[in-house]
C-alpha cells in the first residue's frame, strides 16, 4: 500500500513537472549575435567603452510563469577589447580581469521577475575573478519570431542593462589607482536560438 502511494505521488509530481516544463522554452545564446558592452568613467575626462566578443549560455523562458525562467551565461575574458591593444592587454592582466587565472566571467540568475509583458528584472550572481556579487539586470524581450529565411529557426532577442562597481571585485585597487570607475554601466544585446 505504501509503495503504491509513493508511486502515485511520484507520478503526480512528474506530471506537474512536465506540465510546468511545457510552458518553458529553452534557448541557446547565439554567440555570433551577442554584444556585451560596458562603459566606465576614465579619470576626470571621458567615458571608456569596451566589449566582450565571446559569450555563450542558456536561457529558459517561461512565459506563463516568468519566475520559473532562468539565465546562465559565460563570457570569455580574453575576448575583451576596447579599440586599443595595450589597454586590452592591461584589462586581461592580473590588475583587472586576470584572464590567466580566471579565464571566464559567469552569470547565473537566482530570480526573474515580470514587470510588463515585455520587460522584467533578472537578479543573479555575477562572478568576476573568483568573486561573486549579486546584480540585477533590467531585461527587455525585443522580439521573438521565426527567421524569415528559415521557418524552423526561432530566435528571441533581448536587451539587458545593469550596473556593477569595480569596488566589488579584485580589480578595485588598480581601477581606483588609474582613476577608473568605480561604476560600470553594462548594456547587453543578444539573440538566442530556441531549441
Amino acid at each position: 500500500m505504501t509503495t503504491r502511494k509513493l508511486t502515485a505521488a511520484l507520478a503526480f509530481a512528474s506530471m506537474c513537472a512536465l506540465a510546468s516544463a511545457a510552458h518553458a522554452d529553452n534557448y541557446e545564446i547565439d554567440g555570433q549575435h551577442a554584444w556585451v558592452t560596458f562603459t566606465i568613467k576614465h579619470g576626470i575626462y571621458g567615458t571608456a567603452h569596451g566589449q566582450f566578443d565571446a559569450v555563450k549560455g542558456a536561457i529558459v523562458m517561461d512565459k506563463a510563469d516568468p519566475s520559473k525562467s532562468s539565465v546562465k551565461a559565460e563570457i570569455e575574458v580574453g575576448s575583451v577589447h576596447t579599440a586599443y591593444d595595450q589597454r586590452d592587454s592591461d584589462l586581461k592582466g592580473p590588475d583587472f580581469f586576470n584572464a590567466a587565472e580566471f579565464p571566464a566571467i559567469s552569470f547565473e540568475s537566482t530570480k526573474v521577475e515580470k514587470v510588463t509583458d515585455k520587460t522584467g528584472k533578472v537578479t543573479g550572481n555575477l562572478t568576476i575573478s573568483g568573486v561573486s556579487k549579486e546584480i540585477t539586470l533590467d531585461v527587455t524581450l525585443v522580439n521573438e519570431a521565426p527567421a524569415p529565411w528559415d521557418a524552423t529557426l526561432t530566435k528571441a532577442a533581448f536587451t539587458a542593462t545593469g550596473k556593477v562597481s569595480t569596488a566589488d571585485f579584485p580589480m578595485a585597487k588598480a581601477a581606483a589607482g588609474f582613476g577608473l570607475g568605480p561604476d560600470v554601466d553594462i548594456v547587453i544585446d543578444l539573440e538566442a536560438v530556441k531549441k
Binding site: S89, D90, G93, P94, N98, S129, P170, K173
Partner: protein, 296 residues
C-alpha cells in the same frame, strides 16, 4: 602634499629609496637586529598595503594572496635564524615551492603548457634554486668587503628588472610593488657603499631580514611570471637569475672581483646585475606594445 603622495613614481621609487637610506643609516647606529627586522617587516607591509590594498579574507586571486605570503615570510625569517644551513635551505625550498603552488594552482590546473607557463616554471625554479644557494650560507669569520652587499644587490637587481618586465607585460600593480622593494634595497646599498668608500665596513642584513625580503621579492616575481599575460618569457627567466649570480660571486666567480677594496662591492654588484640588465634590455626591445610604461 597629497598630489605628491598620489604620484606613483613617489610611492614606487622615491619614498622607498628614501626609507631604504633611512634603514641603512639606522643600521649604522648599531640598532638591535631584532628592531631593524621589525622595521623591515613594517615597511614591507606598508608597501604591500599601498599597492595591493588591505588583505582580503579569504584571498581568492593570486594578487590577494601576496600580502599573506609577505606575512608568512615575516614569520619564516626569524625562524630561519634558528636553523643550520642545511635545514635553512630546506625551509627556503619548501616555502617558495609552496608559495609557487598556492599562487599558480589555477594556472597549472588550466593545463596549458604554453611558452608563458614554461617561462613561469623556469623562473620559479631558478628563483627557488638561487634563494636556496644564497640565503642559508654560513657566516664567514672574516668576510670579504662585498659580502654584506650580495643579498641586497641580488634583491635590487631581481626586483628592478622584474618590475620593468611586469609593467611592460601588462601587470602594473606588481611592477609598482617590485619597484618599491628594489628601491628599498637600493637605498640600503647606497648608504653601505658610502660607508665602504669612507673606509668603514658595510652592515649586513640579518639572516631573518634576508629571508623575509628575498621571499617577498621572489613571490611577487613568481606571480608576475605566472599571470602577467604579455611579460616577455626570456626577461622573466633572466629576472630570476640575480640570486644565483650572487651565490656564484660568493663562490666560483669571486676571482672576477678586483682586489681594490672600494671596487669590490661595485664589481660584485655589476656581476649580479648582469642577467638583470639583459632582462631589462630584452623586456624593452621586445615589449609587446612598445616601451611605454603605464596604463593607457
Amino acid at each position: 602634499m597629497s598630489a605628491l603622495l598620489g604620484n606613483p613614481m613617489v610611492t614606487t621609487a622615491a619614498l622607498p629609496l628614501l626609507l631604504g637610506v633611512v634603514m641603512g643609516l639606522l643600521a649604522r647606529l648599531a640598532l638591535p637586529a631584532s628592531l631593524l627586522f621589525l622595521l623591515w617587516a613594517a615597511l614591507l607591509l606598508f608597501f604591500y598595503w599601498d599597492t595591493l590594498g588591505p588583505p582580503v579574507v579569504p584571498p581568492v586571486a593570486a594578487s590577494q594572496k601576496l600580502i599573506y605570503l609577505a606575512f608568512a615570510g615575516i614569520i619564516l625569517g626569524p625562524l630561519s635564524q634558528r636553523l643550520d644551513a642545511g635545514a635553512g635551505r630546506v625551509l627556503v625550498i619548501v616555502a617558495l615551492a609552496a608559495a609557487f603552488s598556492w599562487l599558480g594552482w589555477r594556472r597549472v590546473a588550466g593545463g596549458a603548457l604554453d611558452l608563458q607557463m614554461i617561462a613561469a616554471l623556469a623562473a620559479g625554479l631558478l628563483a627557488i634554486v638561487g634563494a636556496a644557494l644564497l640565503l642559508p650560507a654560513r657566516t664567514l669569520p672574516s668576510p670579504p668587503v662585498e659580502e654584506p652587499f650580495l643579498v641586497p644587490a641580488a634583491m635590487l637587481a631581481m626586483c628592478l628588472c622584474g618590475a620593468i618586465a611586469s609593467v611592460l607585460g601588462a601587470s602594473i600593480v606588481t611592477g609598482q610593488l617590485l619597484g618599491s622593494i628594489a628601491a628599498l634595497a637600493g637605498g640600503w646599498c647606497l648608504v653601505q657603499y658610502v660607508a665602504v668608500l669612507r673606509g668603514g665596513e658595510a652592515v649586513a642584513w640579518s639572516k631573518g631580514s634576508e629571508l623575509t625580503l628575498v621571499f617577498a621579492g621572489a613571490t611577487v616575481l613568481i606571480q608576475v611570471a605566472l599571470l602577467a599575460p604579455k611579460a616577455n618569457p626570456a626577461a622573466l627567466v633572466l629576472s630570476s637569475l640575480p640570486l644565483i649570480m650572487a651565490a656564484l660571486v660568493r663562490g666560483p666567480l669571486q676571482g672576477l672581483v678586483p682586489r681594490v677594496r672600494p671596487l669590490r662591492p661595485l664589481a660584485a654588484g655589476l656581476l649580479i646585475a648582469m642577467p638583470a640588465m639583459l632582462a631589462i634590455l630584452t623586456a624593452l626591445l621586445w615589449a609587446p606594445h612598445g616601451a611605454a610604461l603605464g596604463f593607457s
